[in-house]
Protein backbone atom coordinates (compact mmCIF):
# COMPACT_ATOMS: atom_id res chain seq x y z
CA UNK A 1 0.00 0.00 0.00
CA UNK A 2 3.02 2.25 0.22
CA UNK A 3 2.83 4.31 -2.93
CA UNK A 4 5.95 6.41 -3.52
CA UNK A 5 6.80 8.04 -6.84
CA UNK A 6 10.59 8.54 -7.21
CA UNK A 7 10.18 12.10 -8.55
CA UNK A 8 7.86 13.08 -5.71
CA UNK A 9 10.26 11.61 -3.15
CA UNK A 10 13.15 13.53 -4.73
CA UNK A 11 11.21 16.83 -4.62
CA UNK A 12 10.13 16.18 -1.02
CA UNK A 13 13.73 15.47 -0.01
CA UNK A 14 14.92 18.65 -1.78
CA UNK A 15 12.27 20.57 0.18
CA UNK A 16 13.48 19.01 3.42
CA UNK A 17 17.11 19.86 2.66
CA UNK A 18 16.15 23.47 1.85
CA UNK A 19 14.16 23.70 5.08
CA UNK A 20 16.84 22.14 7.25
CA UNK A 21 19.42 24.49 5.72
CA UNK A 22 17.42 27.46 7.02
CA UNK A 23 16.78 25.90 10.44
CA UNK A 24 20.38 24.89 11.07
CA UNK A 25 21.87 27.76 9.04
CA UNK A 26 20.70 30.32 11.58
CA UNK A 27 22.63 28.56 14.31
CA UNK A 28 25.71 28.13 12.19
CA UNK A 29 25.98 31.09 9.82
CA UNK A 30 24.66 33.89 11.94
CA UNK A 31 27.19 33.16 14.68
CA UNK A 32 29.86 34.07 12.12
CA UNK A 33 28.23 36.87 10.14
CA UNK A 34 26.86 40.06 11.63
CA UNK A 35 23.40 40.71 10.20
CA UNK A 36 22.18 44.30 9.82
CA UNK A 37 18.82 45.33 11.22
CA UNK A 38 17.76 46.06 7.66
CA UNK A 39 18.45 42.49 6.52
CA UNK A 40 16.65 41.13 9.57
CA UNK A 41 13.61 43.25 8.75
CA UNK A 42 13.64 41.92 5.17
CA UNK A 43 13.86 38.26 6.27
CA UNK A 44 11.19 38.81 8.89
CA UNK A 45 8.75 40.25 6.33
CA UNK A 46 9.17 37.39 3.83
CA UNK A 47 6.61 34.79 5.00
CA UNK A 48 3.78 37.33 5.27
CA UNK A 49 4.62 38.84 1.88
CA UNK A 50 4.75 35.40 0.23
CA UNK A 51 1.39 34.31 1.65
CA UNK A 52 -0.22 37.62 0.62
CA UNK A 53 1.21 37.21 -2.90
CA UNK A 54 -0.29 33.76 -3.14
CA UNK A 55 -3.62 34.80 -1.68
CA UNK A 56 -4.60 38.08 -3.33
CA UNK A 57 -4.43 37.11 -7.06
CA UNK A 58 -6.52 33.96 -6.41
CA UNK A 59 -9.11 35.65 -4.20
CA UNK A 60 -10.90 37.31 -7.12
CA UNK A 61 -11.58 33.90 -8.74
CA UNK A 62 -14.17 33.19 -6.06
CA UNK A 63 -16.25 36.30 -6.80
CA UNK A 64 -18.55 37.95 -4.29
CA UNK A 65 -19.23 34.76 -2.24
CA UNK A 66 -15.48 34.30 -1.88
CA UNK A 67 -14.85 37.87 -0.75
CA UNK A 68 -17.63 37.80 1.85
CA UNK A 69 -16.50 34.39 3.10
CA UNK A 70 -12.90 35.64 3.25
CA UNK A 71 -14.01 38.47 5.52
CA UNK A 72 -15.82 35.94 7.73
CA UNK A 73 -12.71 33.75 7.97
CA UNK A 74 -10.53 36.74 8.92
CA UNK A 75 -13.05 37.85 11.55
CA UNK A 76 -13.39 34.42 13.21
CA UNK A 77 -9.64 33.74 13.08
CA UNK A 78 -8.87 37.07 14.79
CA UNK A 79 -11.55 36.59 17.41
CA UNK A 80 -11.14 32.92 18.34
CA UNK A 81 -7.61 31.86 17.32
CA UNK A 82 -9.19 28.57 16.24
CA UNK A 83 -8.03 27.34 12.86
CA UNK A 84 -10.74 24.75 12.41
CA UNK A 85 -13.57 27.02 13.53
CA UNK A 86 -12.42 29.75 11.11
CA UNK A 87 -12.18 27.24 8.26
CA UNK A 88 -15.57 25.76 9.12
CA UNK A 89 -17.25 29.17 9.09
CA UNK A 90 -15.55 29.95 5.78
CA UNK A 91 -16.80 26.72 4.18
CA UNK A 92 -20.37 27.17 5.40
CA UNK A 93 -20.33 30.80 4.21
CA UNK A 94 -19.01 29.99 0.74
CA UNK A 95 -21.45 27.10 0.21
CA UNK A 96 -24.52 29.05 1.33
CA UNK A 97 -23.58 32.24 -0.53
CA UNK A 98 -23.08 30.26 -3.75
CA UNK A 99 -26.62 28.95 -3.41
CA UNK A 100 -28.07 32.36 -2.63
CA UNK A 101 -26.25 34.59 -5.12
Amino acid sequence: MVDLDPTVVAVVLAMSVATYATKAGGLWLLGRVELSGRTEAALDALPGAVVISLLVPTLSEFGVPGLVSAAAVLFVARRTDSVLLALGVGMVAVISLRRLL
Binding site: M1, V2, L4, D5, V9, V11, V12, L13, A14, M15, S16, A18, T19, A21, T22, K23, A24, G26, L27, W28, L29, L30, G31, L35, G37, T39, E40, A41, A42, L43, D44, A45, L46, P47, G48, A49, V50, V51, I52, S53, L54, L55, V56, T58, L59, F62, G66, S69, A70, L74, R78, S82, V83, A86, L87, G90, M91, V92, V94, I95
Partner: protein
Protein backbone atom coordinates in the same frame (compact mmCIF):
# COMPACT_ATOMS: atom_id res chain seq x y z
CA UNK B 1 12.91 54.19 36.13
CA UNK B 2 15.70 56.64 36.97
CA UNK B 3 17.47 54.00 39.02
CA UNK B 4 20.75 53.05 37.44
CA UNK B 5 20.91 49.48 36.25
CA UNK B 6 23.93 47.49 37.29
CA UNK B 7 25.06 43.89 37.06
CA UNK B 8 23.13 42.95 40.18
CA UNK B 9 19.82 44.44 39.17
CA UNK B 10 17.13 41.92 40.10
CA UNK B 11 15.56 42.01 36.64
CA UNK B 12 18.85 41.49 34.79
CA UNK B 13 18.88 38.18 32.92
CA UNK B 14 20.95 35.43 34.51
CA UNK B 15 24.28 34.95 32.75
CA UNK B 16 24.27 31.77 30.68
CA UNK B 17 27.05 29.64 32.06
CA UNK B 18 25.90 26.16 31.17
CA UNK B 19 22.96 24.27 29.75
CA UNK B 20 21.65 20.85 30.62
CA UNK B 21 20.51 18.32 28.00
CA UNK B 22 18.46 15.77 29.91
CA UNK B 23 15.45 13.52 29.50
CA UNK B 24 13.72 15.72 32.10
CA UNK B 25 14.12 18.71 29.78
CA UNK B 26 12.93 16.64 26.84
CA UNK B 27 9.84 15.55 28.76
CA UNK B 28 9.12 19.08 30.02
CA UNK B 29 9.20 20.39 26.45
CA UNK B 30 6.97 17.63 25.15
CA UNK B 31 4.35 18.05 27.90
CA UNK B 32 4.27 21.87 27.75
CA UNK B 33 3.92 21.82 23.98
CA UNK B 34 1.25 19.13 23.67
CA UNK B 35 -1.78 21.49 23.89
CA UNK B 36 -0.16 23.72 21.26
CA UNK B 37 0.61 20.68 19.11
CA UNK B 38 -3.09 19.78 19.15
CA UNK B 39 -3.77 23.14 17.50
CA UNK B 40 -1.03 22.47 14.95
CA UNK B 41 -2.77 19.16 14.19
CA UNK B 42 -5.68 21.19 12.75
CA UNK B 43 -3.34 22.54 10.06
CA UNK B 44 -1.84 19.08 9.60
CA UNK B 45 -5.25 17.59 8.88
CA UNK B 46 -6.06 20.30 6.32
CA UNK B 47 -2.63 19.84 4.75
CA UNK B 48 -3.36 16.12 4.39
CA UNK B 49 -6.72 16.75 2.69
CA UNK B 50 -5.15 19.26 0.28
CA UNK B 51 -2.15 17.02 -0.44
CA UNK B 52 -4.57 14.28 -1.47
CA UNK B 53 -6.36 16.68 -3.81
CA UNK B 54 -3.01 17.73 -5.29
CA UNK B 55 -2.41 14.08 -6.18
CA UNK B 56 0.00 12.97 -3.45
CA UNK B 57 -0.37 9.47 -2.02
CA UNK B 58 -0.76 8.96 1.74
CA UNK B 59 2.85 7.80 1.96
CA UNK B 60 4.14 10.83 0.00
CA UNK B 61 2.18 13.39 2.03
CA UNK B 62 3.21 11.78 5.31
CA UNK B 63 6.83 11.64 4.15
CA UNK B 64 6.69 15.37 3.39
CA UNK B 65 5.31 16.22 6.82
CA UNK B 66 7.86 13.99 8.55
CA UNK B 67 10.94 15.27 6.71
CA UNK B 68 10.09 18.92 5.93
CA UNK B 69 8.13 19.89 9.06
CA UNK B 70 7.30 23.45 8.01
CA UNK B 71 3.58 24.26 7.94
CA UNK B 72 3.43 27.44 5.87
CA UNK B 73 6.01 26.19 3.35
CA UNK B 74 4.23 22.87 2.86
CA UNK B 75 0.86 24.57 2.34
CA UNK B 76 2.38 26.94 -0.22
CA UNK B 77 4.11 24.04 -1.98
CA UNK B 78 0.91 22.01 -2.21
CA UNK B 79 -0.94 25.01 -3.68
CA UNK B 80 1.46 25.22 -6.62
CA UNK B 81 1.86 21.43 -6.93
CA UNK B 82 0.66 20.23 -10.35
CA UNK B 83 1.57 17.46 -12.77
CA UNK B 84 4.35 17.73 -13.93
CA UNK B 85 5.70 19.14 -10.66
CA UNK B 86 7.14 22.67 -11.04
CA UNK B 87 10.26 21.57 -9.16
CA UNK B 88 12.10 24.89 -9.19
CA UNK B 89 9.07 26.86 -7.99
CA UNK B 90 8.21 24.32 -5.29
CA UNK B 91 11.72 24.08 -3.82
CA UNK B 92 12.39 27.82 -4.36
CA UNK B 93 9.27 29.01 -2.55
CA UNK B 94 9.92 26.47 0.23
CA UNK B 95 13.32 28.06 0.73
CA UNK B 96 11.99 31.61 0.61
CA UNK B 97 9.08 30.99 2.99
CA UNK B 98 11.50 29.33 5.43
CA UNK B 99 14.19 32.01 5.40
CA UNK B 100 12.74 33.34 8.66
CA UNK B 101 14.15 30.23 10.37
CA UNK B 102 17.61 31.75 9.90
CA UNK B 103 16.62 34.47 12.36
CA UNK B 104 14.90 32.07 14.71
CA UNK B 105 17.97 29.83 14.80
CA UNK B 106 20.22 32.82 15.38
CA UNK B 107 18.07 33.87 18.35
CA UNK B 108 18.80 30.49 19.98
CA UNK B 109 22.57 30.86 19.71
CA UNK B 110 23.32 32.43 23.11
CA UNK B 111 21.98 29.26 24.75
CA UNK B 112 22.68 26.63 22.10
CA UNK B 113 26.39 27.36 21.81
CA UNK B 114 26.68 25.65 25.21
CA UNK B 115 25.34 22.41 23.72
CA UNK B 116 27.31 19.85 21.71
CA UNK B 117 27.00 20.23 17.91
CA UNK B 118 24.97 17.01 17.66
CA UNK B 119 22.52 18.19 20.35
CA UNK B 120 22.16 21.63 18.77
CA UNK B 121 21.86 20.54 15.13
CA UNK B 122 19.54 17.62 15.86
CA UNK B 123 17.27 19.97 17.84
CA UNK B 124 17.33 22.46 14.94
CA UNK B 125 15.49 19.98 12.70
CA UNK B 126 12.52 20.06 15.10
CA UNK B 127 12.19 23.86 15.06
CA UNK B 128 8.69 25.03 14.16
CA UNK B 129 7.18 28.47 14.79
CA UNK B 130 5.13 27.37 17.77
CA UNK B 131 7.70 25.42 19.77
CA UNK B 132 10.43 27.92 18.96
CA UNK B 133 8.35 30.69 20.54
CA UNK B 134 7.64 28.48 23.57
CA UNK B 135 11.33 27.60 23.94
CA UNK B 136 12.60 31.16 23.60
CA UNK B 137 10.11 32.25 26.27
CA UNK B 138 11.36 29.47 28.55
CA UNK B 139 15.05 30.32 28.00
CA UNK B 140 14.58 34.08 28.41
CA UNK B 141 12.87 33.55 31.74
CA UNK B 142 15.87 31.63 33.01
CA UNK B 143 15.23 28.05 31.84
CA UNK B 144 18.44 26.11 31.18
CA UNK B 145 17.02 22.90 29.73
CA UNK B 146 18.76 22.45 26.40
CA UNK B 147 16.49 19.55 25.40
CA UNK B 148 13.33 21.70 25.69
CA UNK B 149 13.32 22.62 21.97
CA UNK B 150 13.78 18.98 20.97
CA UNK B 151 11.03 17.79 23.36
CA UNK B 152 8.52 20.43 22.28
CA UNK B 153 9.48 19.85 18.65
CA UNK B 154 8.84 16.12 18.99
CA UNK B 155 5.33 16.94 20.25
CA UNK B 156 4.71 19.13 17.18
CA UNK B 157 6.24 16.53 14.84
CA UNK B 158 4.13 13.66 16.23
CA UNK B 159 0.82 15.51 15.93
CA UNK B 160 1.73 17.08 12.57
CA UNK B 161 2.61 13.73 11.00
CA UNK B 162 -0.38 11.82 12.44
CA UNK B 163 -2.82 14.59 11.47
CA UNK B 164 -1.40 14.62 7.92
CA UNK B 165 -1.94 10.88 7.63
CA UNK B 166 -5.50 11.24 8.91
CA UNK B 167 -6.23 14.14 6.53
CA UNK B 168 -4.85 12.44 3.44
CA UNK B 169 -6.81 9.27 4.25
CA UNK B 170 -10.12 11.03 4.94
CA UNK B 171 -9.57 13.47 2.07
CA UNK B 172 -9.45 10.62 -0.43
CA UNK B 173 -13.02 9.62 0.38
CA UNK B 174 -14.53 13.04 -0.44
CA UNK B 175 -16.08 13.23 -3.90
CA UNK B 176 -16.89 16.34 -5.93
CA UNK B 177 -15.05 18.77 -3.66
CA UNK B 178 -16.41 22.00 -5.22
CA UNK B 179 -19.92 21.12 -4.09
CA UNK B 180 -18.71 21.21 -0.50
CA UNK B 181 -16.74 24.42 -0.89
CA UNK B 182 -13.45 22.49 -0.70
CA UNK B 183 -11.98 24.54 -3.55
CA UNK B 184 -12.07 27.42 -1.06
CA UNK B 185 -10.24 25.58 1.77
CA UNK B 186 -6.70 26.54 0.84
CA UNK B 187 -7.67 30.18 0.38
CA UNK B 188 -9.25 30.06 3.83
CA UNK B 189 -6.11 28.45 5.27
CA UNK B 190 -3.97 31.26 3.86
CA UNK B 191 -6.38 33.81 5.33
CA UNK B 192 -5.91 32.25 8.77
CA UNK B 193 -2.13 32.19 8.25
CA UNK B 194 -2.27 35.87 7.34
CA UNK B 195 -3.92 36.76 10.66
CA UNK B 196 -1.08 34.96 12.43
CA UNK B 197 1.68 36.60 10.39
CA UNK B 198 0.20 40.10 10.81
CA UNK B 199 2.49 42.15 13.06
CA UNK B 200 0.31 45.25 13.21
CA UNK B 201 0.47 48.30 11.00
CA UNK B 202 4.19 47.85 10.35
CA UNK B 203 3.22 44.94 8.08
CA UNK B 204 0.94 47.08 5.92
CA UNK B 205 3.41 48.72 3.45
CA UNK B 206 5.17 45.45 2.62
CA UNK B 207 1.89 43.57 2.26
CA UNK B 208 0.39 46.23 0.00
CA UNK B 209 3.41 46.14 -2.31
CA UNK B 210 3.41 42.33 -2.27
CA UNK B 211 -0.28 42.25 -3.24
CA UNK B 212 0.06 44.80 -6.05
CA UNK B 213 3.19 43.21 -7.54
CA UNK B 214 1.65 39.72 -7.27
CA UNK B 215 -1.56 40.76 -9.07
CA UNK B 216 0.42 42.47 -11.84
CA UNK B 217 2.95 39.65 -12.37
CA UNK B 218 0.17 37.05 -12.27
CA UNK B 219 -1.19 38.74 -15.42
CA UNK B 220 2.17 39.21 -17.12
CA UNK B 221 4.12 36.02 -16.33
CA UNK B 222 3.13 32.35 -16.62
CA UNK B 223 3.18 29.86 -13.74
CA UNK B 224 3.83 30.81 -10.17
CA UNK B 225 6.46 33.52 -10.57
CA UNK B 226 4.01 35.98 -9.06
CA UNK B 227 4.45 34.29 -5.66
CA UNK B 228 8.20 34.90 -5.65
CA UNK B 229 7.99 38.36 -7.29
CA UNK B 230 5.34 39.56 -4.83
CA UNK B 231 7.04 38.04 -1.79
CA UNK B 232 10.47 39.42 -2.63
CA UNK B 233 9.17 42.92 -3.44
CA UNK B 234 7.31 43.05 -0.12
CA UNK B 235 10.42 41.96 1.71
CA UNK B 236 12.64 44.48 -0.13
CA UNK B 237 10.21 47.28 0.65
CA UNK B 238 10.37 46.35 4.33
CA UNK B 239 14.16 46.66 4.13
CA UNK B 240 13.93 50.05 2.42
CA UNK B 241 11.36 51.19 4.99
CA UNK B 242 13.65 50.20 7.85
CA UNK B 243 15.15 53.08 9.82
CA UNK B 244 17.78 52.56 12.46
Amino acid sequence: MSQKRNDHAPDAPEPIESMSFSSAGLRAGFVRCTPIALGVAGYGFVFGVLADRAGLSAAEATLMSATVLAGAAQLVAIEIWTEPIPILAVVGTTLVVNLRYLLMGAALRPWFRHLSPIQAYASAFFTADENWALTIGELRSGGRQGAFLLGSGLAIWTFWVLATLLGVTVGGSIERPARFGLDFVLTAVFLVLVTELWEGRSSLPAWTVAAVVAVLTARLLPGYWYVLCGGLSGSLLQAAWYDG
